[in-house]
């Protein structure tokens, strides 16, 4: 197990290095002065110019420049944003929690609704129910998320007026930032309008989370269904039945854990598409997360924001896909079977 963890850590470091290298070369292709693209300072004074030259080793060889670039970026110096004139790293820390909050709620929603539905569609003997669930998931899988988001905000936000269509919370509420997660912050907030603010934050998150949850939800249902069907045909389910266990305990204790294993693996593979969907959803619902921030940076040709945003998003995806793989190995005794007897 120790060797396995070391190998995963190694994979993480190597992938991150490749990511930094790609960013390093892409920065040189920006249609702007190199020191402007690196630091975000449009009209540097001569001192600033010297500082930038020194920090990024601009007068040295490309290799030295790469090392200097990596050192700067990894120590948190992403330059300043051209539009806001504030450090990119600070802005990044401000928008990341909102994105995590949205992604977490959407993922939770997809799992809580998707897993039981997948189990039901696998176990139900009525063909029409199975077909209905499959048709719904296939529709959800093929609906473009930007269209769905616009449609939802048109129906529930504009025509029915049930839910707010943009932002994280109503501007009336002044909630101090503690964790960055709005739902948590409203709960931690100690004031007269604590619960009103919490409910308002909850209402704000419903529509973006539902929109974002559609894709993982459909995948979860389909994977759970196929895995469950194949598990229920195994001999050990027959053996458990022969031991006289009840149906519920067979499904919950013997079938479901085995069916969730392939699901976990697929969740890891789905992180990339999920992140790009999250960016689109954030733009549609003006969610103050990293996606909306990155897209506005792209529109404004804010080179430092683009670099910082891409770096953060890609690093998060790499980290979580490796984390899921490690979790998969840790949670699943069967995957340890491959390692059994080899090292």
């Amino acid at each position: 197990m120790g060797r396995y963890l070391l190998r995963r850590l190694n994979l993480f470091i190597a992938t991150s290095l490749v990511l930094i290298a790609i960013l390093f070369f892409a920065t040189r292709l920006f249609p702007a002065e190199l020191n402007y693209a690196l630091s975000g300072i449009a009209l540097p004074t001569s001192e600033q110019q010297l500082q930038i030259q020194h920090d990024f080793a601009l007068d040295k060889s490309t290799l030295r420049q790469f090392f200097a670039y990596s050192a700067e970026r990894l120590s948190g110096n992403f330059g300043i944003s051209v539009t806001s004139q504030r450090p990119v790293s600070g802005e990044l820390l401000g928008v990341l929690p909102a994105s995590f909050e949205l992604a977490f709620v959407a993922g939770l929603l997809a799992l809580i609704v998707g897993v039981p539905l997948g189990v039901i569609s696998a176990l139900s003997r009525s063909k029409s129910l199975q077909k209905l669930i499959m048709a719904v998931t296939l529709t959800g899988y093929s609906i473009p998320v930007f269209w769905l988001g616009l449609l939802l905000s048109l129906w529930f936000g504009v025509q029915l007026g049930w839910l707010p269509i943009s932002g994280q919370i109503n501007l009336l509420y002044q909630i101090p930032k503690v964790t960055g997660f709005m739902l948590l912050d409203t709960l931690l907030f100690d004031g007269t309008y604590k619960w009103a603010a919490f409910i308002d934050a909850l209402q704000h998150i419903i529509m973006p989370a539902c929109t974002l949850a559609v894709l993982p939800f459909t995948v979860v249902v389909r994977i759970t269904r196929t895995a469950m069907i194949s598990v229920m045909n195994q001999t050990y389910i027959r053996a458990a039945e022969a031991r006289g266990l009840s149906n519920t305990s067979i499904i919950l204790k013997h079938a479901l854990p085995n069916a969730l294993i392939p699901l976990l693996k697929h969740l890891g593979l789905m992180l990339g598409p999920f992140a790009s969907y999250a960016i689109v959803v954030e733009v549609i619902f003006s969610w103050p997360g990293i996606g909306a921030w990155l897209v506005s940076g792209i529109y404004q040709r804010d080179y430092t924001v683009i670099q910082g945003g891409i770096f953060a998003v890609a690093l998060v995806i790499i980290f979580f896909s490796i984390l899921i793989e490690v979790l998969y190995t840790a949670a699943n005794p069967v995957s340890r079977k491959d390692m059994y007897g080899t090292n």
Binding site: R125, Q234, T235, Y236, R238, A239, A240, E241, A242, R243, G244, L245, S246, N247, H254, P257, N258, I261, N332, P333, V334, R336, K337, Y340
Partner: protein
């Protein structure tokens, strides 16, 4: 009253070519305390019969039976849940595929504990501990050398033979009244095989566990069983006490089986053909009508296109229109 009484059980499976009768009018009577052998080639529906008795069949199977009685209770019209718990308490089964019969995500010990009945003689804080000790005692009893280590192992860490032994321990831990052993020694070395059979016999004799032993090895079965039922292609051919069956088979198929047993005592010519029935076992979608042995049977005649009913003579049962009877002896006395 027999412990298990199956009369004319038919199982229809859905195949792409339409429904096929995998088992046709199978009758099986098992008395309490006996060791009953069920012999048949692979594909003859032995495991299907076992699963139908236990009620762990696939929902797509169509099962009909004139009678399916367990100790005076009719299993056919018993609610599913009641039947499941009754079967769990009173019948245990040793499955054919030992390593596949364990959930790979739990240790075998965890699954063994599920099979141990709730005893209320222990106070609750010692319950788990006592249960574990009991489980390890069972493991030791079936011939596992380090029960503690095996108890905490995952099924894929054990060899096939060890899995089989744990499976047997699991079946025994319930202290069932009937034990269905579906090829219990399929993946074991001969010395362990004998050990397992001895264990089964011991249980049968000391604890009065009825055993239904399913196998394809006629010579081993004949060593350990009191009675035998011969199955061919989903039909019962013959049933009766082992000794009589072996010395005087009534049915052509049983006779063929006995003749096919290699005899090492006499000198056999080099590359001499072994005596076998002509042809091979028909596939499920090309089943002959009537007696399924018909096309291969040396005694087949026109009547054989009708399935013969199971007729009995003293305590022997056979399903054949032209059985081998004791006529030869009578002829001898006449001359």
């Amino acid at each position: 009253m027999p412990l298990l009484d199956v009369r004319n059980l038919t199982i229809e499976l859905d195949t792409p070519q339409g429904p096929a009768k995998a088992l046709e009018r199978v009758s099986l009577t098992i008395n309490a305390g006996e060791m009953h052998g069920l012999i048949g080639e692979s594909g003859s529906g032995r495991s299907l019969l076992a699963r139908a008795i236990l009620g762990i069949h696939d929902p797509s199977w169509k099962i009909t039976a004139d009678r399916l009685m367990w100790d005076g209770k009719n299993l056919m019209d018993m609610p599913r849940q009641e039947r499941r718990s009754l079967m769990g308490d009173e019948i245990s089964m040793i499955f054919q595929d030992p390593s596949g019969s364990f959930n790979p995500t739990y240790t075998v010990g965890h699954q063994l504990l599920e099979a141990i009945p709730k005893g209320n003689k222990w106070t609750f804080w010692r319950h788990t501990r006592e249960k574990k000790l009991l489980a390890q005692k069972w493991l030791h009893k079936v011939g596992i050398k380090n029960p503690r280590k095996v108890f905490y192992s995952y099924p894929w860490e054990l060899s096939e033979g060890e899995c089989q032994k744990v499976m047997i321990a699991m079946a025994l831990a319930k202290q069932p009244r009937l034990l269905i052993a579906d090829e219990p020694t399929a993946s074991m070395e001969p010395s362990t095989q004998a050990q397992i059979y001895r264990l089964l016999t011991q249980l049968n004799q000391l604890q009065n566990v009825t055993v239904l032993l399913i196998s394809h090895e006629l010579d081993t079965l004949s060593n350990w069983c009191n009675r035998m039922t011969v199955l061919y292609c989903g039909q019962v051919m013959e049933s009766g006490p082992t000794a009589e069956l072996m010395s005087q088979p009534n049915h052509p198929y049983t006779k063929a089986l006995l003749d096919n047993m290699p005899d090492y005592s006499t000198n056999v010519r080099h590359k001499k053909l072994m005596p076998t029935l002509p042809g091979s076992v028909p596939a499920l979608r090309h089943l002959p009508i009537g007696c399924r042995l018909g096309p291969r049977c040396p005694e087949a005649r026109r009547q054989c296109v009708k399935q013969p009913m199971l007729s009995h003579y003293k305590d022997r049962y056979f399903a054949c229109h032209f059985p081998y009877q004791d006529e030869v002896d009578d002829d001898d006395t006449l001359t």
